[in-house]
Symmetry: D3
Subunit: 163 residues, 6 copies
């Protein structure tokens, strides 16, 4: 990220304070967000933006909103998903993906067969379900860390990918 | 708005379908948002953005986020308030204003003396409290109308006031 | 209202303090509650009573409960709907109407195709859906104004239409 | 109740179906509602009406609303408390009593020293706290039974004590 | 209970303070928990444990968890149901029973035909529905009493039925 | 863990399916739970049990409840904290620690100066606050993964540390 964008995201500075946690955090992050998967990188960022908005995490919505705009090559999509993903210009399959992610974010204790059946109807298999759930779960953690530490998004993120 | 920005906000098209409601809606809107008041126009837009985000209203967050950026001459403020106004770069007085607005949006039935005492500590008098409450209440209505009719924000709003 | 009942509802006194808002409020109110519509006037008052009770608005439940009793020529209906509309002596079609109104009052951000399909099954078309939503939205505003200003219902309303 | 009012409340008919439960229910009810206590009988009915309204129990709000009107000799009080007890014409001490009752109804798991300290400030001792809590708890049970069995209030209750 | 276990459950000591309430409470309890019914005694304790856990009642979860382990002859079942009954090793029929009990505990106002239809599909008749609802309702009361009085479970309960 | 207890916790088997995530998960876990800190290891497990119970995570409550019993050398503490930590036999300082952890688990977006002031009153500094928040956040993630994958606790955990 730093190399491409020319600035150091503030989350790096925050976690640098705790080197062991820093390494584990980014190892986990990269395993979920950068490895090959049936979910496109833009779709993974959609999950981050939708669930981080439900958790009211300013850093994550602004920073990952920027990455989503870049990856989806769409200047409008991040704001739409942040405010109400149900009304965003995305496919029904992507809405099903986000419905599941939001269940994991808010009601994981009640996730069950009915949820997986809907995912399957939209072509998501068990590995895809894991990916969606793991990203929603990882940002359940990140959102809480960022909110408690009052982490601010770098100013550069606000404009990235808007034009 | 149209004259200055060169496009017709979609809310006009939506309500044009019902001329009597259209006239009353905009008469009410203008009485609250354009008349002289102790609240600056930027502060009034902060109320709109914060409460509309809580109500997940895409049109209102995107359109009034744009107006807020223009009125506050601040390209970052709308996104900050939309995601989590408690963490936005605004004054403590403005946070007290938004705390009250959010009480009206979510728990108006429990508003009482303690709320007004806090407002008073921050220099808001009874007329100011009415202004804050009336704007939060008006957008409680607008947000619901926009969400039920799936109203989309004009594309022009997304970039307005960002640079 | 005043002419028929012989007293001035307190909401008039409250809003008289702000003439521009007064005019817009009642113009909007009358456009929704008095104009011709597929919804009967009693049905529109049912929407007011059910959603105002969810918002714990004393003025609106007591005053519009009275109007509902008068319009429906039924002394019991308002109390039933105020406490739990699901258990009131109304038709299934009216319950579907109130289910939709309550969705608008509480979860408008999630209203979608499934909601409109249910309305259609009960014979409500798109204009009817607008009417239901607009009344629920208008009283989302009114309820908040009345609660914040501690508006009390005129004593006359409590007995109106009970015998 | 029957003797005085000349009709048999429907809750008697409902529970007659289960004689052992019937006897225990009314023994418990009478121990809480009819025995000597520092709370007046009208105050005890206030607790029933406020908590039963939060639980949306039609039978209990309508029937005990009637009893409250009779006991308080006030035709307006029951409707006020049913919709929003915070705005009812009752004393601050009675509002503290209802705040505690509502905590028991909704969040008993969090009741603690702070709650008892507020009660004490208003002159309620430990026995009074028990009375308030026990009534709120007993109607937590009654409200659920009445809602599940779709219990309707006798028509006579609606008008009782209104003039 | 005392005779079999050799100790006096603390709930007896708590309520001994109020003899009339004591007698009514245990008469009601025994009518629901000890009489013949289509629900096994273990199933009735499942209802107690699941709903008491939702109400965060330490006494009821620990004490009735012990009784459930004894009655079901299963050392694991109580902890599973207390944390998340949806993931416990119980039958689908028992999950349907607990789904209904949890509706009564949390949303009794919305219980209706759809709920009874699901119960019927799993072989529960109207009397069984009453039993489930009455137990959930009775412990809605007990849980509140125990939480307000800070009732602790006897130490003996923690180990009962674990080996 | 395995070495000491003689069995492999099921979470290892679950995550073995994804080696990169496995390594990052346990690196993070160990950095938070095993490193030197002002919080005792028993206190850290208290945070896990309280927040995991709020998230209804069966694996985490049962497995970490066992570890808590062992580390605190107290056979009762885990069940008490799981059901209602406010009523557990722990110090006021530990209750303040758990209050903060629960804020992070449920409302991290609203954590602010008032929360840190309370922590400070109980002798927790900024590093301690980070530890509490990071553990609550990490298990916000773990709880969601375990619930979505229906992860069961090893039977051995249920009895560990009870005698």
């Amino acid at each position: 990220m730093q190399e491409k964008s020319g600035f150091v995201p503030n989350i790096f500075l925050l976690l640098a304070h705790r080197p062991d946690e820093f390494r584990a955090f980014f190892a986990y992050h990269d395993a979920l967000m950068d490895k090959p998967s049936n979910l496109t990188k833009a779709e993974r960022e959609m999950i981050v933006v939708a669930t981080s908005s439900a958790n009211q995490c300013q850093y994550c919505v602004v920073a990952h909103g920027a990455i989503l705009r870049v990856r989806a090559k769409d200047p409008l999509i991040a704001d739409q998903i942040a405010v109400n993903y149900r009304k965003a210009n995305i496919t029904d399959r992507q809405k099903a993906m986000l419905n599941f992610a939001m269940r994991v974010a808010a009601n994981a204790y009640a996730v069950g067969d009915a949820d997986f059946a809907i995912l399957k109807q939209h072509g998501f298999d068990e590995e895809d379900a894991w990916d969606i759930a793991a990203i929603a779960a990882f940002f359940a953690m990140s959102n809480r860390l960022a909110n408690v530490t009052d982490l601010r998004a770098n100013e550069e993120f606000y404009m990235l990918g808007r034009s």
